[in-house]
Amino acid sequence: MSSQSRPPIEPLPKFKRNPMTRRAKRDAITFALFTFPNFLLLTVFVFWPIFYSLFLSFFKWDMIAPKKRFIGLENYRVMFSDPVFWLVTKNTLILSLWVVVVKLAISLSLALVMNRDLRGRSFYQAIIFSPTFTTSVAVAMVWRWILEPDYGLLRVFMRPFGIAPINWIESTTHSLPAVIIVLIWVGIGYDMVIFLAGLKNIPPELYDAGLVDGVNPVQEFFYITFPLLSPTTFFLTITGFISALKSFDIIRILTDGGPLNTSNVLVLFLYENAFRWFKTGYASALALLLFVIIMAITLVQNRLSKRWVHY
């Protein structure tokens, strides 16, 4: 395979019938040896589970029983008639949309500020980036305490303004917003750093030219910065959506999907079905659906990107 993709350096001698030289053969073997460990790991931990999950989605199985019972598309029928499934899907989509949009807006603003010559810039950057390398469980535990309605840190800040305490975690209306806030907070640092890298890549000549033409800061942003940043924004939108659709750990600790599934999302619901209630087949069907949703959203974004992403 490598012999085909490699452009010929010199024309091969005519008398050789086999185009594969000794060198090319050796290359092929080396290639196989180098890729094999990765390929094996991918097969065991990625390809095989995906196919096994697809297979399991046609069965009823509790993970322990020696026999799996084939039930055809029953898991999918149950899924689409399950009100909890629809609630959870709705939550997942609402959460993803809010998290991605707000996170991008805040992190871009921060990146623009950090891109200036600011005293102690690296210090602020380090602080804003810190949630990225903090264990998510620790983040969720600390936020549980911050959001505690009576003694929490947030309450301390709200009390002087006479705002009534909100029981974020145990309220059917506030648990999803609480999750969204924490997920945004966690993600801002990473997005900001990527945006900063994008900003640094914009040639300064363009700003100079703009200056000569007398643009104001708003025009500068909309005609120079934002269009030239669009590949970065696109990358962050796609990865942001994928990770938001897959959010699990923070929600598991913060609200555990409750109360009454109001902050439950697809991956957590999948986890509950698989590992709390041992409905392995149903959980597999959910996993497949999640795969389809992520794929669809990514494809749509890819198509739309042609309209606004400039390379």
Binding site: D62, P66, A164, S171, D256, R276
Partner: protein
Amino acid sequence: MKKRNLVWILLLAVLFLASPLFAQAKAEAKPEGPIKIVYWRSLTGVAGEAQDDVVKRFNESRSDIIVEAEFQGAYAEILQKMTAAIAADDVPDVVLLDSPHMPIFAKNAALVDLGQYVKDEPKGFLDDYIPGLLADGYYHGTLYALPAMRSTPLLYVNGDMLAAAGLPRRAPATWDELREWGKKLTKINAKGELEQSAVGLTTGLTTAHWYFQGAVYAFGGLVSDEDFGIHLTDAPAMELAQLWQDMVFKDRSAIPSNSHDDFFNKKVAMVFGSTGSMGNVYSRADFQVIPAFLPGQKQNLVPVGGAVIAMPKTGDKWKQWAAWEFLKYFTGTESQAYLARKTGYMPNSYSASKNAELVAYYNANPQWKVAIDQLNYVRPQASVISLPKGTAILQQMVEKLIIANRDVKTVMEETTADLLKEYKDNY
């Protein structure tokens, strides 16, 4: 040529990597040196340390067996880890299971039938265990587990808060009395914010159902019978559900609560808790704690909860023998008396409850006796608890009642339907 080479390399590598899988064989002869076994325990704080103490004592008393205790999280996590361990064929030798979880493993032949070991013990070996507690170890007539850390639900009362509200330092005897007291204990400030409430109603994932069951028993009803008949729409359960909802939304004398923090922070004067939490509650509270029976109404009756100890099938004869030796020690008189004294869990046998040290301890600390007193008022838990999703459905019911404030009748009918569906899904 190239392709064939690749295939061969791949095949050889797969064989090479997989070879250890085939080489595994299990030894039959008694191994030389001490036998090492692994015990998966649950529970944190005092209740966890006390188990480690028992393991340590066992190891000191035996030269031929070494038990290694591993903390594996709460009961729900042990359930998950056990399932994963069975799938991976790497189970512990002894495990502490929440009693409703035992049938899940027994049903799938993942636990050792203890009968084969019992028959080699002296006659009447099982007679010492308190029958109501031993009963949970059976699945379809076969003994798979022994009672280990058994508990009943209690009401923990903050005596100082009661006294401050002009109430006697004792627990309310009935739910009616509790509601009456609630009026004096509830404090609402000028802005309409709740500053103090009478009781925290548990919404915990694995505990909400237990206290609800206890309250339903007090009202003379039950959640479900042995044949999975659901009784949530019967008068007692409905009456109780309405009472809880009214206390939360009308009187504001009760709040949904999923940890004991509300109790330790003095936000509520009373909270539900397991007898097994007594050690922890006493060590954390900076006020007078009165452990008491759950309020009665028509009767005093509580669902017995807590754990059983079982032996997952490892296929290793000697390890299983060692596991049985440990099981006997753990559920034996001395260990149980020690655990009861340290943690508040109930002694599981007649001999343990008469153990001199324990009796002396109860005499010196009469409030701890509540665990043993309540032994006279226990009955098994509702059958639906053994369904994989049973506790979750009941927890959602409690949330619908006291968080979402949904119509009681609708909630009870929905829950009944959910439970029946889950039953059909499993049987």
